[in-house]
């Protein structure tokens, strides 16, 4: 939903970042307003996941220049947990398995920490149990998940549902979903996408990092950005995704080279 007057949630200007000394992001500009859904597409190795992780503050990515503002505040001044509390949520491409930490305990701790930071009431274990079970219904999740260790032994689909469950609990302003569709069969994809759709409001926004158009059949983006060589080289509407699906990425690249004379 595009509303030019809506609040700017995320402002990315000239973002450059390196991993182990290699520059992966080479100047990214992006503006995300409340209520919008953005899709970032691009071939493997174009820097999509790096962008997502850099926004969440992954320690392996070093930001070398540029700035990122979350509701006007410098995002890079914040630690990963402060970003989470401020409303940034990263849905991991490969959610980490943490044997020994119970999922219910983890979810409650995360929920209460973020609630506390936002000056809201925390829930005791019993209240939380009721609350989380309601949320799980949204995602068609078995309550048995609560008794298991975080992502430990979960199937690919189960892990992704667990990510969206966390999104539902933490109510982020800006959700960045990194390849949330990978490894999902069509039924699971529908459940996960419906879950995300229900969480979207005029006050928040989502950035979908994806490889394939199929997720965008379920979560319809307002903007589609094509990323290559660490830059956004084209931006369009939802129809761009369909065009990419049929024509591939090469033509975008050619067009970009023609326009800028740049080597990508």
């Amino acid at each position: 939903m595009i509303n030019a007057n809506a609040t700017v949630l995320l402002e990315v200007r000239g973002l450059r970042a390196t991993v182990a000394g290699v520059e992966i992001l080479k100047g990214i500009d992006l503006t995300v307003r409340a209520g919008e859904a953005h899709a970032i597409m691009g071939p493997n190795g174009s820097g999509k996941s790096t962008f997502a992780k850099a926004l969440a503050g992954h320690p392996a990515y070093e930001v070398t220049s540029g700035e990122v503002l979350l509701e006007g505040k410098d995002l890079f001044a914040l630690s990963p947990e402060e970003r989470a509390r401020a409303g940034v949520f990263l849905g991991f491409q490969y959610p980490v398995e943490i044997p020994g930490v119970s999922n219910s305990g983890f979810l409650r701790l995360a929920y209460n920490t973020v609630q506390g930071a936002r000056g809201r009431d925390e829930l005791d274990p019993l209240e939380f149990d009721d609350f989380v079970r309601e949320k799980m219904k949204l995602l068609d999740m078995d309550p048995g998940f609560l008794d298991r260790s975080v992502n430990d032994g979960f199937s690919g689909g189960e892990k992704k549902r667990n990510e969206i469950l966390q999104m539902a609990l933490l109510e982020p302003k800006l959700a960045i979903l990194d390849e949330t569709d990978s490894g999902l069969d069509i039924d699971a994809l529908r459940v996960v996408a419906n879950g995300v759709n229900r969480l979207l409001t005029p006050a928040n926004a989502v950035v979908l990092v994806t490889h394939y158009q199929r997720l965008l059949n379920y979560i319809v983006p307002d903007y589609v950005h094509v990323m290559e060589g660490g830059r956004i080289i084209k931006t369009g509407g939802k129809e761009l995704a369909l065009e990419l699906e049929t024509r591939g990425y090469d033509w975008v690249l050619e067009e970009y080279k023609g326009k800028t004379g740049a080597e990508v």
Partner: protein, 440 residues
């Protein structure tokens, strides 16, 4: 027997053993005398001995520990916090001496017979003669020889053929006097098809230095099943040296959870011999130490017959300037085909001054076996930390949570609910208190 060559320290330790009253069983006196002779002939191990390479027991040899001369009067309320509600049978030893007033031995506990070794030496002498001091060899083992020299009392737990005792048996060893030595002794016999749970629990009401030198023997009959929980929460100035030997008959199973929290220097040797086909063992251990503690665990899983299974996970969490040692051997004898064994040594160093020596070993003399072992030493996983932080947890609480989870994996397998919960709290408190020095 010549006493002239005896190590002066050993001689000092043995001082009290000659004053022991005669046992009603002649064979017991004879076995004690053999042990005394061996103790006199052996020397105190040093770091030059391969088995003691990383564990320097010099601090132990600075004090001439003697058995307690008097019994400390304790009320049940003094040990209230150690009571395990699930256990209907409880034997309490204070500084090595059996205290009937603190113990609980119901007249007819279901399935299991529990008595002191002193009682049993009269009533069940033949059974004792067959097993007591037969499984932990003392010929070349100073501490086992010392313990056996002092053998006079202890605990006997027997479970009859095809009997099952659901409630655990709690053997509680309380230390109350400094500079004393205690020589706890246990014998557990599970007849064929029997099932029981035994908790050995070493606790302290005294902060000073004392010495516990324990020996436990377990005989698990065909198809029998023994769960063994061993909890070492001695004072932080104590010395704890213990041996446990387990013999498994055909299709027997032995499940052990060992938690090491206390003692300045502790050493635990667990030898499990699979002498019957198809026997299985599952050995879990956790050492959570800090300050200047040293915790050394040696285990031997010996497969002598085919189709045996063994699984071991040993974990250590080492903070401060503490030092953890693990030496685990899996031995597969010739002919023990189709043995399936796995062993893992997982270690977490929380401080720059902490250190670890780990040595998992495989010795295999049969070709059709599946054996593996693994060892890791490291810190908390960086990806897991980031994941937790990206969900709003602070760096410190993410670290605490992961450290706790590391230990909880072992604790959670303890088959006694109240103990499990109590230990979970202990581990939680310890891992929260430990503010890690290293930061990413």
């Amino acid at each position: 027997m010549s006493l002239t060559t005896t190590h002066p320290y050993i001689e000092a330790l043995l001082k009290g053993s000659r004053d022991l009253p005669q046992s009603p069983a002649g064979w017991l006196d004879a076995r004690r005398a053999q042990a005394l002779e061996r103790a006199n002939a052996l020397t105190v191990p040093t770091t030059r001995d391969e088995e003691w390479r990383f564990t320097d027991i010099t601090p132990l040899t600075r004090i001439h520990f003697q058995p307690a001369q008097s019994v400390t009067r304790l009320a049940l309320s003094d040990i209230g916090c150690f009571i395990v509600p699930e256990a209907t049978v409880r034997l309490v030893f204070v500084d090595g001496i059996f205290v009937p007033e603190l113990s609980a031995v119901p007249d007819s506990p279901a399935g299991v017979q529990v008595s002191t070794l002193a009682e049993a030496a009269e009533a069940r002498s033949a059974l004792l003669e067959k097993h007591l001091a037969r499984h932990v060899a003392f010929e070349n083992n100073l501490f086992a020889a010392l313990n056996t020299s002092y053998l006079r009392d202890g605990a006997l737990v027997t479970t009859g053929k095809n009997q099952a005792c659901a409630a655990p048996v709690h053997l509680l060893f309380v230390a109350t006097q400094k500079e004393t030595a205690a020589y706890p002794r246990c014998l557990v016999i599970a007849e064929p098809g029997a099932e029981c749970t035994v908790i050995e629990d070493f606790v302290s009401l005294e902060d000073g230095a004392y010495f516990n030198n324990a020996v436990t023997e377990m005989v698990v009959g065909a198809g029998a099943r023994v769960r063994h929980v061993r909890l070492q929460r001695e004072s932080l100035n104590a010395f704890h040296i213990a041996h446990c030997a387990v013999t498994l008959d055909k299709d027997a199973s032995y499940l052990s959870n060992t938690v090491t929290l206390g003692a300045r220097i502790s050493r635990y040797d667990l030898n499990v011999a699979q002498n019957g086909e198809g026997a299985e063992m599952r050995i879990d251990g956790l050492a959570l130490i800090s300050g200047r503690q040293l915790a050394d665990t040696h285990t031997l899983m010996a497969h002598a017959r085919p189709n045996g299974r063994s699984v071991q996970v040993h974990k250590t969490i080492v903070d401060g300037a503490a030092h953890a040692v693990f030496n685990g051997k899996v031995f597969v004898h010739e002919g023990a085909q189709l043995t399936d064994s796995s062993q893992e040594s997982r270690n977490l160093l929380l401080s720059g001054r902490a250190h670890i020596d780990t040595k998992p070993q495989l010795e295999i003399f049969a070709d059709d076996v599946k054996c593996s072992h693994g060892a890791t030493v490291g810190q908390l996983d960086a990806e897991q930390l980031f994941y937790l932080r990206s969900r709003g947890l602070s760096d410190a609480s993410a670290r605490n949570l992961l450290t706790y989870a590391f230990g909880a994996e072992i604790i959670d397998r303890i088959p006694v609910r109240s103990l499990l919960e109590r230990l979970e709290r202990t581990v939680l408190e310890q891992t929260q208190a430990a503010e890690p020095e290293t930061r990413s």
